[in-house]
Assembly symmetry: C2
Homo-oligomer: 329 residues x 2
C-alpha cells in the first residue's frame, strides 16, 4: 500500500505538498498540484484514515442510534441520514438499541470511544426524561422522540396535533366510543395519547386508553380484551404501525367487520394499510424528510457548536380510507 511519502517521492515534492493537495488547501502552484495528482493516480494512493484521524483529531463519522431497525419508520430515516451523510463525506455508524436502555448506553459509550463528530438518537423513555446535551462529549440531535421541556436539538412529528386530528376525524365520522392503544415505552406514544385525550375531552367523550409494549403481540392481546367489552367500542386507534398491525390481527380473530361493526385508524402509512380491505385510515409521517432534516440539523450543530437550540416539527398527514367510514346513517 503506497503511502504519502511514496507519492511525495514520485512527484518530486515534499509530503506537505501532497497533504495540501489532498486537503484542497490553497497556496499550491498548479504545476505542483498536477504532479501530485499524477503521482497519486499512478500509485493508486489512498490516505490511511486511522493515521489521519489520529493526527487531525476528527473522525468525520457520525453515529445513528435507532430504537428498532425493524420499524420501517427508522429504516426510512436511516436511508435519508445515510444519503445526506455520504454526500458530505461522512461515515455513518448505525446502531440498533432495540428499545433497551442498556444497549442504548452501550452504544453511546461506543460513540464516545469512536470519537464521532455527532450523534443522531431516538432515545428510550428513561434517557429522554433526563436528557442534557452537555452530558455528551459530542453534539446530539434527537429524532422522533422529544418531550415538550427537553432542551435539545430535535426533529419530530407534531404528535399531539396529529393524534388530535385523527381522533377529531373519527368523531366527525360519528364514532363515539373510541379506544386508544399506545406504546408505553416511547415519548411518541405518550404524546399521541395526549392528543387523543384532548380530542375526546374537547368533545365531551370518555376516554379508553391502554398502554402496551410496542409489539404486535402485546397490541393484539390488549385489543382482544377491548373488543370483548360491552358495549363494543365504535373504533380502535393505534399510536404506531406495529400496534396497528396487532389491532388488525385482533379484529380478524374476533371476526369483526371493519368499518361496519368497528372502525379502525392509526399512525404510519405502511404499504399494507392500503392493501387490506378496507384500507386503513392513518396519519402518514414524512419519514424521509424527517431523517433529512435531522442530519442537516446535526451538520449545522457541528459547524456551529454554540448556535441556539432548535427544534423542527413536521406535520403528519391524515389519509382517510375505508376503515374510518361514517358510522350509522
Amino acid at each position: 500500500m503506497a503511502q504519502i511519502k511514496d507519492v511525495a517521492q514520485q512527484a518530486g515534492v515534499s509530503v506537505a505538498s501532497v497533504s495540501r493537495v489532498m486537503a484542497g488547501h490553497p497556496g499550491v502552484s498548479e504545476a505542483t498540484r498536477q504532479r501530485v495528482l499524477a503521482a497519486i493516480e499512478a500509485l493508486d494512493y489512498r490516505p490511511d484514515l486511522a493515521a489521519r484521524r489520529l493526527r487531525s483529531r476528527r473522525t468525520d463519522t457520525i453515529g445513528l442510534i435507532v430504537s428498532d431497525i425493524r420499524n420501517p419508520f427508522f429504516t426510512e430515516v436511516s436511508r435519508a441520514v445515510e444519503d445526506v451523510a455520504y454526500q458530505h463525506q461522512l461515515r455513518v455508524i448505525l446502531c440498533n438499541a432495540d428499545e433497551d436502555p442498556e444497549k442504548e448506553a452501550l452504544y453511546l459509550e461506543l460513540m464516545r470511544d469512536e470519537n464521532v463528530s455527532g450523534v443522531i438518537l431516538s432515545p428510550t423513555l428513561p434517557r429522554l426524561a433526563r436528557f442534557r446535551p452537555n452530558d455528551y462529549s459530542f453534539p446530539v440531535v434527537l429524532v422522533d422522540r422529544c418531550d415538550r421541556d427537553t432542551v435539545a436539538d430535535a426533529v419530530v412529528l407534531d404528535n399531539v396535533d396529529s393524534a388530535y386530528r385523527l381522533i377529531a376525524h373519527l368523531i366527525e365520522q360519528n364514532h363515539r366510543r373510541i379506544a386508544f392503544v399506545y406504546g408505553a415505552t416511547s415519548a411518541t406514544g405518550r404524546q399521541r395519547q395526549e392528543g387523543y385525550v384532548t380530542a375526546m375531552a374537547t368533545h365531551g367523550l370518555e376516554t379508553l386508553a391502554r398502554a402496551v409494549p410496542a409489539t404486535v403481540e402485546a397490541a393484539r392481546a390488549v385489543a382482544g380484551e377491548l373488543v370483548g367489552r360491552q358495549p363494543l367500542p365504535d373504533a380502535l386507534v393505534a399510536s404506531n404501525g406495529l400496534i396497528l398491525l396487532g389491532l388488525v390481527e385482533a379484529l380478524r380473530e374476533a371476526r369483526l367487520r371493519v368499518p361496519e361493526q368497528i372502525a379502525l385508524a392509526g399512525f404510519d402509512n405502511l404499504p399494507w394499510t392500503r392493501l387490506v380491505e378496507p384500507g386503513v385510515t392513518v396519519i402518514a409521517q414524512p419519514t424521509y424528510d424527517l431523517g433529512q432534516a435531522t442530519i442537516e440539523l446535526l451538520l449545522q450543530r457541528i459547524a456551529h457548536p454554540t448556535q441556539s437550540v432548535r427544534r423542527v416539527v413536521m406535520r403528519g398527514e391524515l389519509i382517510e380510507r375505508g376503515s374510518s367510514a361514517r358510522r350509522g346513517g
Copy 2:
C-alpha cells in the same frame, strides 16, 4: 480526556504496563494489575481507537453493504449481523447500495479506505458476474446472492428449489397457466425463475415469465398487462416481496377475486401477506438465521484466511394460505 500516560502516572507504573493490562497480556504482577485497573477506573480512561488502529494496523470493523435497506429482508439480515458483530466487539459500517453498481463500487472503495477486517455483500448482478474474492484487500462473504459457479464464501436460500416447490404446490392445486414475475436485477430473481421454468417443464406446462425492475410500480404495470390477456392466467407468482405487493395492487385494480378468478403466491413472508384477504401463499426465508450464518462465516474466514471456500444454503419454507386454494372442484 485521560490518556494512557495519565493512567501510568496515577498508578505509578509505565505506559507499557498499562497497555499490557488493557490487552490482558500475561506477565503482569497482580499488584500492578490492580493498581492499573484502579487508575483506569479513577480517570475513566478510554483508549483512543484511532491511535490503537494506527499502531496495530487493525480496525475490528466490518462492512455490510446491502442492496436496499428498505427491503425488510435486508433489515432483518442487518439486525442479525449487528447483534453478532457487537457481541464480538466488532463495529459495523452499514451501507445501502440501492441496487446501483456505482454506489456499490463507491462503498467497496470506502471499505478499503477504512481498512475493514471484512465485508458482507449482497452484490449487484454485474459485480456478481465477475466476482473474485481476490480482487479485494479484505475477506468478503456474499449474502442472499450467489451464482452456481461463483467461487466465494456465501450464505443463500435454496432459490431454485424453493421456487420449484412453490410452483409444484400451485400445480398440485390444479393451477396450470402460471405466470411468473421476477426481479431482473438480482441473481435471486433469476434463480427463482429457473426453478419456475423447471417445475413447469417437468409438468409439461408452458411458461409465461416477465422480468421487471424490482419495484412495486414496475411489477404492478407488468401484472396489469398479464391479467389483460386472454385466457386469463390461473395464477400469478412473484419472485420477492416487493413484486408481490405490485401484483396484489394490480389484482385490486383489475377487480379480480383471489383465488376464485386468479391465484397468487410469492416469496417473503411479510406481515401483510397474512393480513390481506385471503392470505397470500409464500416461501418464507429464515432471514435472521441467514444474517447470523453470514457474519459467523465471515468471522471464520477472518480467523482462517486460507480455509477452503464454503457455501451455506438454507431452505425456504412453504407457507400455504388461501391465495393458492385449489382450482375448480
